[in-house]
């Protein structure tokens, strides 16, 4: 299954989506990422029981923070899929890249470049 997905998606591997921290997401935005998403396992199927549910809450926290400071919360997202769903992984990557393209570059990056 040699699936292709947009090359501008940079993958950072973690042992479980529960390892993803609020600071990881915020620092990515701070450093100029146009969007960040977490790909966790399906709900109810976390090997560590609730890692993906915890990740979802952290993603929501970051969305709230971004909204509070006037940045589109859609730039951060949580997706759930099983490790056997390769095609879905590629689909999500395309979906997220499309969404970010519609939103345009991050205002943080625009100002940094100016």
């Amino acid at each position: 299954m040699r699936l292709s997905y947009p090359s501008n998606v940079k993958i950072i591997q973690v042992p479980c989506s529960g390892r993803v921290d609020i600071l990881h997401l915020l620092r990515a935005i701070e450093d100029g990422a146009d969007g960040v998403y977490v790909a966790g396992c399906l709900e109810g199927e976390c090997h560590f029981l609730t890692g993906n549910v915890k990740a979802k809450k952290k993603v929501q926290y970051v969305k709230n923070v971004l909204e509070e400071i006037g940045i589109e919360p859609e730039r951060v997202e949580m997706f759930n899929l099983s490790s056997g769903e390769g095609p879905r992984f590629a689909e999500i990557a395309k979906e997220m890249v499309e969404r970010i393209k519609e939103l345009g570059p991050s205002p943080v990056k625009i100002q940094k470049a100016a």
Partner: protein
């Protein structure tokens, strides 16, 4: 512990104003335990403020630090060599922190990043509830170990009001009627009769009614 909530970011950004370099100062005491002003939250606020200001094209330089406590002069002293490097200091401690800082460093600006709310504890991970009102004359042993001053919406000391229904307070179904619990507890203890003991009106001079309070332990004063 003292429980607090982070202020809205808009309010913090307004306080920071045109400052170009700020220090965000956390506290490793109560606010760390209630996840609002420890190292972790300092990092989150620092990153958020940097994003907000970068977006406006007015970058903000932010340093992060957390003191052991902000309510003891020896710890507050620990920033004496760096405090002058910043336009302002944002304290993530309870209301005591920014006051100790303001008193120790005249001429510097200190902003509170949290709203200090109550003395309480964690009833479950992520949820804190008020338990003590700091009245200065604890009498919870009269009430089955439960405080009606802190936990009754009206701070009634003589039993429930007419707003008590099914163990809940009339202000919200999420608020228990503490008098319902007190009566049940007294029944379980087999000491319900103790609620009939006449007690004179509470003297409130030990609470805030007596003005700002002070505690002096002569054996410790040097």
């Amino acid at each position: 512990m003292i429980v607090a909530d982070r202020k809205p970011l808009k309010e913090i950004l307004e306080m920071v104003g045109d400052s170009k370099k700020v220090l965000i100062l956390g506290c490793k005491g109560c606010v760390t335990v209630c996840n609002v002003g420890g190292n972790k939250e300092v990092g989150i606020l620092a990153s958020t403020l940097k994003i907000a200001r970068a977006k406006e094209g007015r970058p903000l330089e932010v340093e992060e630090k957390a003191l052991e406590r902000q309510c003891d002069p020896e710890y507050v002293d620990q920033i004496k060599d760096i405090v002058e490097d910043y336009d302002a200091v944002i304290s993530m401690a309870c209301g005591v922190g920014p006051q100790f800082l303001s008193e120790r460093y005249p001429g510097k600006r200190f902003f509170p990043a949290v709203n200090t709310t109550f003395f309480g504890g964690a009833v479950q991970h992520g949820i804190w509830e008020e338990r003590c009102a700091g009245c200065g004359a604890c009498g919870i042993h009269h009430f089955g170990g439960l405080c009606p001053i802190a936990r009754c919406s009206k701070s009634l000391l003589n039993g429930p009001c007419g707003g008590s229904a099914d163990g809940k307070c009339e202000i919200s179904k999420d608020v228990v009627c503490i008098w319902d619990l007190i009566v049940k507890k007294k029944m379980e203890e087999g000491h319900l009769d103790e609620l009939m003991i006449f007690r004179p009106p509470k003297v409130w001079t030990t609470a805030r009614d007596g003005g700002p309070r002070k505690s002096v332990r002569e054996e410790l004063v040097q």
